[in-house]
């Protein structure tokens, strides 16, 4: 399993980055998820997708973190959204940042549904399993997330 997990690291990092835009937090989440997964590897059901299982663990780690921050008084690590905007920022970069910012506005549940299905390519069933919810819940989160994104991003769609 280790080899497969190593091969999945780039995608785990991408998924974590959809949950938090702080790159350090995202990598910390990946590390936590990898360590938890390898510690409880016997809980993975052979035949199911390893990536979906890891995404679920990673997301749970993020939910734990959000709760802990709530208890600690919400000291959020700074977002790095502006980091890449330099004088030479190009249209594509602005577009990327706009989409990232739009996704960051969604509630966590919708954000995870959108990230798992639209970015990571899980099926509805796999994403529902990873989030531990019925398929109907997953599809309604996905639908609401999509609608919200369309509304936020619509004004730009004519330009792209």
């Amino acid at each position: 399993m280790r080899t497969e997990v190593v091969a999945l690291l780039p995608r785990l990092r991408r998924f974590a980055r959809t949950l938090t835009r702080n790159a350090h937090d995202a990598d910390d989440l990946v590390q936590i998820a990898v360590e938890r997964a390898l510690t409880r590897h016997e809980q993975w059901r052979p035949g199911s997708r390893l990536d979906g299982w890891l995404f679920g663990i990673l997301r749970n780690a993020w939910i734990d973190e959000l709760r802990a921050r709530g208890r600690r008084g919400a000291i959020f690590a700074p977002e790095e959204a502006g980091e890449h905007v330099g004088e030479a920022a190009m249209d594509t970069e602005i577009e990327m940042l706009a989409v990232q910012a739009a996704l960051a506005q969604l509630p966590e549940e919708q954000r995870s549904a959108v990230a798992m299905v639209l970015i990571e390519g899980l099926s509805y069933k796999e994403a529902a399993e990873a989030m531990d919810v019925p398929i109907g819940t997953l599809t309604s989160r996905l639908a609401r997330g999509r609608e919200a994104l369309q509304v936020i991003l619509e004004p730009r769609s004519g330009e792209t």
């Binding site: 510690t39 973190e65 802990a68 970015i119 994104l149």
Partner: protein, 260 residues
């Protein structure tokens, strides 16, 4: 009848069975509004992927590769396991402090321990699409001379595409053909490529910095190559039996790497 939006989303996500799909396609053909809605769903997906795909091309931090290789029931404490972000930050600071001595040492051994890179585009020759590696649908795929070499070039013979040497070919456990290679761009990198039947391309499940080959100009049979051990580990994990012998490889080359 006009399909509802949930059905259109499911269609855009490839979740409908053949019958429902046919209905939606009929509606798309008749109703420009339906067609536009489906197109919007597809466009949103493309924009989301484009906004995050660059993460796939960043080098993976060492500590994550280490975590994947060493964490587990055997001793999470020893490997520096963390259970929340606050703890992770502390552990990271400590590790960074400890690692300084090891770093110079590491530089000497860099060619041996080259880690998984899954690369920034820069080492692969500039912008996405221009180089040998590109990202497509969330996966890395071979492009240009690398793709051609993987399709056309026998193992152990640098030369046809001068900057690529394929080191071995094998059948993976899932039946696909895969080939390990070393390539030179602005820097050397190595990886494993597996044949994607759907589009005659090569997926790159593993890509690592480093790797080299020796062996001379065209005609030198079986030049020697060194692969980073992350590539070797993946070969060992996925190979079904032995590597292809030259005859089996010739056949695979001749038949376009289609599983028989």
């Amino acid at each position: 009848m006009k399909p509802d939006d949930e059905t259109l989303m499911a269609y855009a996500d490839g979740e409908l069975d053949a019958e429902d799909r046919a209905e939606v396609e009929a509606a798309i053909a008749q109703d420009p509004e339906v067609a536009a809605a489906v197109k919007r769903h597809g466009a949103l997906r493309d924009r989301l992927r484009a906004a995050f795909d660059d993460v796939l091309l960043e080098p993976v931090p060492d500590r994550l590769i280490q975590a994947a290789r060493t964490a587990g029931p055997a001793g999470p404490a020893a490997s520096g396991a963390v259970s929340d972000l606050a703890q992770a930050r502390i552990a990271k600071t400590e590790r960074a402090a400890r690692r300084w001595g090891a770093r110079e040492w590491g530089a000497m051994a860099a060619s041996v321990v080259a880690g998984i890179l899954v690369a920034r585009m820069a080492p692969f020759g500039g912008k996405a699409g221009a180089g040998l590696v590109a990202s497509s649908n969330g996966e890395l795929v071979a492009r240009g001379a690398l793709a051609r070499a993987l399709t056309e070039q026998p193992s152990g013979q640098p030369g046809v595409h001068a900057d690529v040497m394929v080191t071995l070919s094998f059948r993976a456990k899932n039946g696909e053909y895969c080939r390990a290679f070393v390539a030179r761009d602005t820097r050397a990198f190595s990886g494993l490529a597996c044949r994607d039947e759907d589009d005659d391309g090569w997926r790159l499940p593993v890509l690592a910095e480093g790797g080299q080959w020796t062996g001379g100009p065209n005609g030198y049979r079986m030049a020697a190559a060194e692969l980073p051990h992350s590539v070797i580990a993946t070969v060992e994990a996925t190979i079904d039996g032995e590597a292809l012998d030259p005859e089996a490889e010739r056949q695979a080359l001749a038949t376009g790497w289609r599983p028989q």
